[in-house]
Symmetry: C2
């Protein structure tokens, strides 16, 4: 991305690239090693960045990990918007949208976020940092789902159904944590899509 940007200070470019590598490495590290196995030093090594340079960007693991989950969510949301707009004006089917959401919530990013959420559950200082982040990420996911599904939230029950869909895929993400749950997940999303279609459609034409 940076190569296509307006020319800027090479040093600033390098600094941005280093930051990006650290954020990507933090997501991978959290997703595979868990919270306890993720420190600034471990992530720096994974990213091929000196420990000093990493510390320059992120003083603590908490700073690094929250920034990584925020960054990852933005990238992932942008990718999903791109994917949806690549459909060239055709409204994606409910099942297509659910399948994309299902992928989003079984990705390394979801696993990384889960590690952060769970660690924040027993650490008041971390919780104060994570709660507003969770709210932002949640709102963005909701907006994306509403747009993608073409849901009319002014109709009674529709808002709750979209929210339930996001809670469902979050639960499916959890179910995929220890074993490959993809076969069950597709059966289930097919059924959920049929039910959701009824709700969205019934709501449009009561």
């Amino acid at each position: 991305m940076t190569t296509q940007a307006v020319p800027r200070e090479p040093q600033q470019d390098r600094s941005r690239a280093t930051r990006g590598r650290l954020l990507e490495a933090a997501i991978d590290c959290l997703a595979s090693n868990g919270w306890a196995g993720t420190t600034v030093a471990v992530v720096a090594e994974r990213a091929g960045v000196s420990r000093g340079a990493a510390q320059h960007h992120f003083r603590t693991r908490e700073e690094l990990v929250t920034a990584a989950v925020e960054y990852g969510s933005e990238v992932r949301t942008a990718q999903m918007r791109e994917h949806l707009s690549a459909l060239a004006g055709r409204r994606p089917s409910t099942l297509e949208v659910l399948t994309l959401l299902g992928e989003m919530y079984t990705s390394p990013l979801f696993r990384a976020a889960l590690q952060l959420w769970v660690a924040a559950g027993s650490d008041a200082q971390l919780r104060a940092r994570v709660v507003p982040l969770e709210a932002r990420v949640g709102r963005e996911a909701h907006r994306l789902a509403v747009e993608a599904l073409g849901a009319d939230e002014s109709v009674s029950g529709v808002r709750e159904s979209v929210q339930a869909t996001l809670d469902l895929v979050r639960g499916l993400g959890l179910a995929d944590l220890l074993t490959d749950d993809s076969a069950r997940r597709s059966r289930l999303l097919r059924q959920w899509a049929a039910t959701l279609d009824l709700t969205l459609h019934r709501a449009e034409a009561p």
Copy 2:
């Protein structure tokens, strides 16, 4: 419970009681302190049991914590069955069942189980122990939900809808981890109960 049982060796009784106290304390400890803050020593202190006695029952944190989640799930399932049978033959409404499930998946037991699942995600040895436990707990929760909802799984789509209900409440449990999500959860479960009623009913009389 043990006081009403057939008389047995007092020492055996004491041993069972000690074990039970350790298991309860392990659930509370995991739910509030997280995985890193839960060791056999910390749980022993919380349970008012000597470290030696605790080690006699559970050699490692992994043993203690898996036993605690299994025990907690059995107790919680038995409580829910009792609650349902106290309705004296009246079939509980779908919303009543969903509300009970929602409580089950926002309890300290769910938080404790979540800590265990997430820790197992980055520890192969622990995963080998947790995967069969997760499967057993999942099957039991599914059976309970089917019974409580009076769902006929021979009808197409019903099994998936019951499973989706459990994945949904699991996602709701996650949403309740850092902030009180109860108001949103009840709106959402009310809406899902209405949808699920249609699915179960439509399936019964096509």
